[in-house]
């Protein structure tokens, strides 16, 4: 695994999947997916349920090992490639299907815990600073179990952004967010994308986040079926995905 250190670099390749295959028992979730994402890109993964989007994101997050194939991080354009999965994890933020937070801890305790695990300085201050833009500062002392679905999702996003990631992985990040929450998410992602963060997200339907997408990739039955890179028109593919979602 080759890794380059600068978290917010906008040069070179952020992540490269080479002929990735993932098998769960007899079922093939991914069939030879090869995809190269340059630093600074915002890539939307679209496709029907079961097409392999979540598996690909989990492989990118080092949560799942591919059955075959290779993933490299910040592999080219790097002067100081590293070879340590912990260094990769330090540069990755992820929002998953589940919120990845403890119900019995408060919002502040959750973020402080993860700030400590990421080895961040002044973890409590970092936690409070992350709650502020998410609009949760007034609920900082409340246990997560008392939060609404939208608030939980905002907190999950705040947790993913805590280590200032160079690569942000989002699995349907707008799930559970009301229009105001989606607007906040769109603005937040636009800001960090502008700062040089590479984004890979799976998405369904219309969302505020689509405006920042620079490239769309469609998966079908575990294969890479379409890539907007040659045409340079990701919005067409997103519109088609939305149409397919609505059954029109």
């Amino acid at each position: 695994m080759a890794i380059a250190p600068p978290a917010n670099s906008t040069r070179g390749v952020s992540i490269e999947f080479q002929n990735i295959e993932k098998r769960y028992g007899v079922r093939l979730a991914l069939r030879g997916v090869s995809l190269r994402i340059d630093a600074g890109e915002c890539v939307a993964l679209v496709g029907a349920n079961g097409s392999g989007k979540t598996t690909l994101i989990k492989i990118a997050a080092l949560l799942v090992r591919p059955t075959s194939g290779r993933v490299s991080f910040w592999g080219s354009g790097s002067a100081h490639p590293l070879d340590d999965p912990l260094d990769v994890k330090r540069r990755i933020g992820m929002v998953a299907h589940h919120i990845l937070l403890y119900d019995d801890l408060t919002a502040e305790e959750n973020l402080e815990l993860f700030a400590k695990l990421y080895g961040l300085d002044r973890p409590r201050e970092r936690a409070v600073a992350a709650l502020e833009p998410a609009g949760l500062i007034s609920r900082r002392a409340d246990p997560v179990r008392d939060f609404s679905r939208g608030m939980r999702q905002r907190l999950a996003i705040a947790r993913a952004l805590l280590p200032s990631p160079g690569l942000l992985l989002l699995d349907e990040p707008a799930t559970g967010l009301d229009p105001a929450g989606q607007h906040w998410l769109g603005e937040t992602l636009a800001r960090i994308h502008q700062a040089g963060c590479t984004i890979l997200m799976s998405t369904h339907g219309a969302s505020e986040v689509h405006s920042i997408v620079t490239r769309a990739v469609r998966l079908a039955a575990g294969c890479l079926a379409e890539d907007s890179a040659p045409s340079g028109d990701p919005q067409r593919m997103l519109a088609a995905a939305l149409a397919a979602e609505q059954g029109t």
Binding site: K58, A61, L62, L63, V64, R65, L86, D87, K89, R90, I92, M94, A96, H97, H98, I99, L100, L101, Y102, D103, D104, L105, E109, L113, F114, K116, L117, Y118, G119, R159
Partner: protein
């Protein structure tokens, strides 16, 4: 650094969560208390009989209580897939297991400390005379139970029939530690109390082997 610091952070989280909810500790203490009280009424033991069967009864009760307590150790990480959040963090994966083993060991030791006076009173045992040596046996036996129990809790949490799987895996593997703990405890409650170096040695070896195996292969236990 990649192990000690996150282990301490995660141990703090485990203790904070438990002392807020008190789910595991309350369940374990109530279970052990019920079993000890029920058996003491069933047998109405004399001092001689107690010395004979109380050690085995104590360790069997702790084993069953342990399997009850250790089961939620990893299944409650499934609620919001928090185990994935821990695996995403830049920490040595064995730190996750290490913190769980320490936390479960602490909970078991607290439960044992609460129940020890009741056990001594119900079974007419002079625990105080051998308290120091008894604590050594309790610590080594509890460490074995916490280590193996935590590892199998991680394995069984991803399986179907997980509630039944943990005791089924736990009992055969823990048998040597259970025998050693029982025999060492029996020696302490003998008319002339002694601490058997053979049984204590077996417990030390058991703990060392399984802690090393957990250290070496723990990372793979947590994978999806």
């Amino acid at each position: 650094m990649a192990f000690a610091r996150p282990t301490a952070v995660l141990l703090g989280k485990e203790l904070q969560t438990e002392f807020r909810t008190r789910e595991l500790l309350t369940t374990t203490v109530v279970f052990v208390l019920m079993v000890l009280v029920l058996f003491s009424f069933t047998f109405d033991p004399t001092s001689v009989e107690s010395r004979r069967f109380a050690p085995g009864l104590l360790w069997l009760t702790l084993l069953f209580a342990g399997s009850l307590m250790l089961h939620p150790s990893f299944t409650r990480e499934q609620t919001n897939d928090t185990l994935a959040a821990l695996r995403l963090a830049p920490i040595d994966p064995t730190a996750i297991l290490g913190a769980k083993i320490l936390a479960n060991g602490c909970f078991l030791l607290v439960a044992e400390a609460l129940l020890l006076p009741i056990f001594a009173a119900l079974y007419n045992l002079h625990v105080w005379q051998v308290l120091g040596r008894f604590c050594v046996v309790l610590f080594l036996g509890t460490l074995a139970l916490a280590t193996i129990g935590t590892v199998f809790s991680a394995i069984s949490s991803q399986a179907r029939m997980r509630e039944m799987l943990l005791p089924l895996l736990l009992l055969p593997v823990l048998t040597p530690a259970l025998i050693a703990s029982t025999e060492a405890t029996a020696g302490l409650f003998d008319e002339t109390p002694y601490l058997s170096p053979q049984w204590v040695g077996l417990l030390v070896a058991f703990d060392a082997i399984f802690l090393t195996v957990t250290w070496l292969f723990g990372e793979y236990l947590l994978e999806e």
